[in-house]
């Protein structure tokens, strides 16, 4: 391992600024989305969603700085442990988790609901990065390829069983993207893609639960049950469409404030934005995401080692897909799956996992230059 120099000048403020702009925007939307039920926060009242979210953001920031300080390569060495712990947590959720909206996703830790699948996504990124980086010389081998696939498939299967189809898709996409960047042979990747294509119809019939099938049917035809589950998708469309160019103004969206929107601070937070801040607000959101992803890709480009490069790539794919699926669901482009909008949706597990991820990216940045005299003496 090359010696590295920690240079604080390499810290990328833009990466954090974009992320915290998203968190800020999200907090405003959570404020509006919870307004009809909670009103304005009254001091440090931790039962208020805005206060909770702010607390999570602060916690996340502290952890991010901590992980910036820690050499990311340490994570590689403990990735096996993290991975086993995550898989165990996912399995535990299946047995003893709390059920919301027909799906078993939460466990309570000290009064705070924790969603292990959100943390597991970060851990899978780390584990895959480590495994693929360590096996760069054998990337042509089927064994290595399949092992990497299994690393993603185990947690994917566990979240699929919750059932959380969206998160399972994220695991799959993260694996695929990292395998591509990690140099997996195209013929292997193509074979997996082909197998997936063939398997989808069978999965739909055999493995997908009634709950998921119903959700997909509703996505195809929201009018099917205008007051049941299709109601959400329908009302989200109305909220976004009625927002128009400039929106109805924060806390003035009728769909949001009169509770036509459901889960308006989590899965459907984008609909609040669409209704109250309009097309312009959505463009701001997209711009922030693109800046964030660009800066995260820059980390991948600059990283001196494969582990860092794959870590950053994994984070980019994780954030990109999660944002795309969430907004796509809000816009009626994709079937309803309960996936949070990164940095924006209310929820501590997702936010903290993401901020830790960004901290790791900063850690990669700070350590990307080789230890040379020129570097040492400045230049």
């Amino acid at each position: 391992m090359n010696a590295r120099l920690i240079r604080l000048r390499d810290f990328d403020p833009l990466l954090f600024l974009a992320a915290f702009a998203l968190v800020g925007l999200g907090t405003l939307l959570i404020y509006s989305g919870s307004f009809s039920q909670f009103g304005s926060p009254d001091g440090l009242d931790f039962s208020h969603p805005v206060v909770r979210q702010a607390a999570f953001a602060v916690t996340g920031l502290v952890l991010a700085l901590l992980f910036t300080r820690i050499d990311y390569r340490v994570l590689g060495s403990i990735s096996i442990g993290l991975y086993i712990a995550s898989v165990a947590a996912l399995a535990f959720v299946l047995v003893a988790g709390e059920v919301t909206h027909g799906s078993r996703r939460w466990i309570e830790i000290g009064g705070t609901p924790v969603q292990p699948s959100e943390l597991a996504k970060l851990v899978v990124v780390i584990t895959l990065a480590k495994y693929l980086a360590d096996h760069q010389e054998q990337m042509g081998s089927v064994r290595v390829f399949l092992t990497s696939l299994v690393i993603a498939a185990v947690p994917a299967a566990l979240v699929f069983a919750q059932p959380d189809l969206g998160s399972a898709v994220i695991f799959a996409a993260v694996w695929f993207g990292m395998a591509v960047v990690g140099g997996a042979p195209w013929k292997h990747l193509g074979a997996v893609l082909g197998a997936a294509m063939v398997a989808v119809p069978f999965t739909f019939i055999g493995l997908v639960t009634d709950y998921q099938r119903e959700r997909i049917a509703l996505w195809l035809d929201p009018q099917r049950d205008p007051l049941g589950a299709g109601f959400q998708a329908e009302q989200a469309d109305i909220a976004i469409g009625s927002g128009g160019m400039f929106g109805k103004g924060l806390t003035h969206g009728t769909q949001t404030q009169l509770d036509f929107l459901r889960t308006e601070t989590t899965d459907y937070v984008f609909s609040v934005l669409g209704e109250e801040l309009g097309f312009v607000g959505a463009i701001l959101l997209f711009a922030l995401f693109i800046v964030l992803l660009w800066r995260a890709l820059r980390v991948a480009e600059l990283s001196r080692d494969m582990f860092g490069r794959l870590l950053a790539t994994g984070m980019v794919i994780y954030i990109l897909l999660q944002a795309f699926i969430n907004v796509g669901v809000n816009l009626g482009l994709l079937p309803v799956t309960g996936i949070p909008l990164p940095f924006v949706s209310q929820g501590g597990s997702s936010l903290i996992a993401l901020l830790i991820g960004l901290g790791i990216l900063q850690s990669i940045l700070l350590r990307h230059r080789p230890f040379t005299f020129r570097n040492f003496y400045g230049g």
């Binding site: 109305i238 469409g241 816009l331």
Partner: protein, 641 residues
């Protein structure tokens, strides 16, 4: 010359071929990833622009219709009075249990259904069915009534539980009560909940899913007056249907009140007199019409029904008896059923004959109890047409007064001896023309539903419908109000009113005027003349005199009044199967007349489904004339200083 190895020199001036830097090696893949980022956000942006810019208007409208609900505000339904100001309807409040389908969250549906079922006693399956059906409709926000007319305790308990049973409402609805019950039921009709078909037709007019409307009677015909003009409140509601604030409101305009032509006091008496005379009759009818305006002061159809049973909420226990009664109490027999008029038809045949010059007052005809008619198509076969008695030689007055069938056989069909015409009659075509002119064979246009038109037969009709040739016998029967001819009592009393008033065929009316709450007339209901009958005044005067003589010395004297001079005519219309001797065992009793003779005010018709005109119907009419003019006399005396 020494060869300098060129290869060794090359690195000195050519750039070193270096290994590509890692970030360069991955550049291509990262470029792909960047393209993917832009592509995915591009897709989202495209869809977003479609929704927020292209289809913005559509979504806006849907958001508004989500948010804003028009809550109609109905004025209290208009009241109805008789012509003397007696109130005939009351609006009473009742409590109903209802559910707003959109207000019941799916996960609480079972709890709500179970609780509502326990409190109201309605089967859970029924409640769930109602909710499921309304959820699929395009208006899941209007409350669906689960049970009407809750008792106070249940209403109170349900209202207490409203807070923890989302979507459950206790509605206060207004229902009708009819103090006069059966005495005015055929005038008033009743009010019921809107049915599916009516809702489809009327929703554009502002009717709601659980609305009420008049189903028959004046409640039906004057629905728009009695309903008034609904106002509305436009309110903002949240997703569970709770009202947030009123955005706009328009006050309802009060409904009009109706003053009927009905004289309830007279009606009660008429009903009593008729009831007493019913005997074996399935039905009886008596109508008192103002001969100058066409207003019906009284119209009794027996048996009647209590409209409190049928008005919403329907009394399910009493309903089957009403529906199964063979006498059909729900039918207003004055307008809804037809019978042959018998001899009361002779005024029509008589005036037609006078007008056509077939007869004059001096036309004398002798009745020996019957006439014989040779069959036109079977030579040698002879039909015997009976008279009710051997009445001797009669002029026109006596012929009508004594109700001689033979006299009117002559006038309608003529008389033939040995194939030679010795008296030329009207013939079926001319008689049919006059019958129609008097308004028979078509509805009178009364402002009540359920009127039937009856039948004026003629030769083409017989051929088309029965497929037989019209015979002279048919003309004879037609002339005395038998055979195929059928009429309603109302048609007869109106034709009689036309004879009395100088020929104005009036449109009968049950509503006198429309007034506001203070009693100011909003709209008078004008006297309407359908047409002038084509009988000259002098011929009408002859008929009036003939009808007067019928009361003096003819069978119609059974209806004479001690209080007023009347003119009238009896009728006994045979029906059913004839006995072997040609007589009929059953007959309808008719009596029709007007009074006072010299200055007509009212015309009266009495019909009994079984009976003899003079014996059974006449006395009823007599009592009606007595009561009407006796009461008037009393009122005049009391009013005098």
């Amino acid at each position: 010359m020494m060869r300098v190895p060129r290869a060794a020199n090359r690195p000195r001036w050519r750039p070193r071929r270096r290994e590509p830097q890692p970030h360069e090696r991955f550049q291509q893949r990262f470029l792909l990833l960047k393209a993917l980022i832009l592509l995915l956000f591009g897709v989202l942006l495209f869809q977003l622009a479609r929704m927020q810019i292209v289809d913005h208007e559509t979504y806006s409208t849907r958001a508004e219709s989500n948010r804003l609900r028009m809550i109609p505000e109905l004025p209290p339904r208009g009241l109805i009075y008789d012509r003397n100001g007696e109130q005939l309807v009351e609006n009473l409040p009742i409590f109903s249990a209802a559910v707003v389908p959109a207000g019941v969250p799916d996960d609480q549906l079972l709890t709500v259904v179970a609780e509502v079922s326990t409190l109201t006693g309605v089967a859970p399956g029924e409640i769930a069915g109602l909710i499921a059906a309304a959820k699929k409709s395009d208006d899941p926000y209007t409350p669906v009534v689960v049970k009407e007319d809750l008792d106070d305790t249940t209403a109170f308990r349900l209202r207490e539980r409203q807070a923890d049973l989302p979507g459950v409402r206790v509605l206060v609805e207004s229902v009708r009560s009819y103090p006069a019950g059966p005495f005015a039921a055929h005038y008033l009709g009743y009010v019921g909940r809107i049915d599916e078909q009516e809702y489809d037709e009327l929703r554009a007019a502002g009717y709601l899913l659980n609305d009420h409307l008049g189903k028959t009677g004046v409640e039906y015909v004057y629905e728009s007056v009695l309903r008034g003009t609904p106002g509305y409140r436009q309110v903002e509601i949240d997703a569970s249907g709770r009202e947030n604030e009123t955005v706009r409101s328009v006050a309802p305009r009060p409904a009009g009140n109706l003053v009927l032509s009905l004289d309830l006091d007279l009606q009660r008496q008429v009903a009593r007199y008729l009831q007493d005379a019913m005997g074996p009759s399935l039905n009886g009818v008596a109508v008192v019409m103002d001969v100058n305006t066409g207003e019906l002061l009284s119209m009794v159809s027996l048996p009647s029904y209590d409209n409190n049973v049928l008005t919403d909420p329907v009394d399910q226990k009493a309903l089957p008896a009403l529906l199964d009664d063979p006498a059909k109490p729900l039918v207003n027999h004055a307008i809804g059923e037809v019978h042959p008029p018998g001899s009361t038809w002779k005024q029509i045949t008589g005036t037609a004959a006078l007008q056509e010059g077939v007869a004059t007052v001096d036309t004398t005809i002798t009745s020996l109890g019957s006439i014989s008619v040779e069959d036109e198509y079977t030579p040698g076969r002879v039909w015997v047409m009976r008279d009710w008695a051997s009445l001797g030689t009669m002029n026109f007055y006596r012929g009508l007064a004594m109700s001689s069938d033979v006299y009117f056989y002559y006038l309608s069909g003529g008389y033939y001896q040995n194939g030679r015409e010795v008296f030329r009659g009207l013939g079926a075509d001319r008689l049919a023309r006059y019958a129609r002119d008097y308004g028979f064979g078509s509805p009178t246009g009364i402002d009540l539903p359920g009127e039937v038109e009856g039948l004026v037969p003629d030769p083409p009709w017989k051929e088309e419908t029965i497929g037989e040739v019209w015979t002279l016998g048919d003309t004879y029967n037609f002339g005395i109000g038998q055979g195929y001819l059928t009429i309603t009592p109302l048609q007869l009393v109106r034709a009689t009113a036309a004879i009395a008033n100088g020929g104005d065929l009036l449109v009968p009316r049950v509503v006198h005027e429309i007034v506001d709450e203070q009693g100011n007339v909003l709209q008078g209901v004008d006297r309407k003349v359908a047409r002038q009958v084509s009988i000259s005044n002098s011929n009408l005067a002859i008929m009036r005199e003939a009808m007067r003589q019928a009361v003096v010395y003819g069978p119609a004297r059974t209806g004479a009044s001690s209080r007023v001079t009347i003119a009238a005519k009896t009728g006994t219309a045979e029906f059913g199967r004839p006995l072997p001797d040609g007589r009929y065992p059953q007959s309808h009793a008719w009596y029709v007349g007007y009074a006072p003779f010299d200055n007509p005010e009212i015309a009266v018709v009495v019909f009994l489904e079984k009976g003899i005109g003079a014996t059974n119907a006449g006395p009823v009419a007599g009592k009606i004339f007595d009561y009407y003019f006796g009461r008037q006399h009393l009122a005049e005396r009391e009013g005098a200083p």
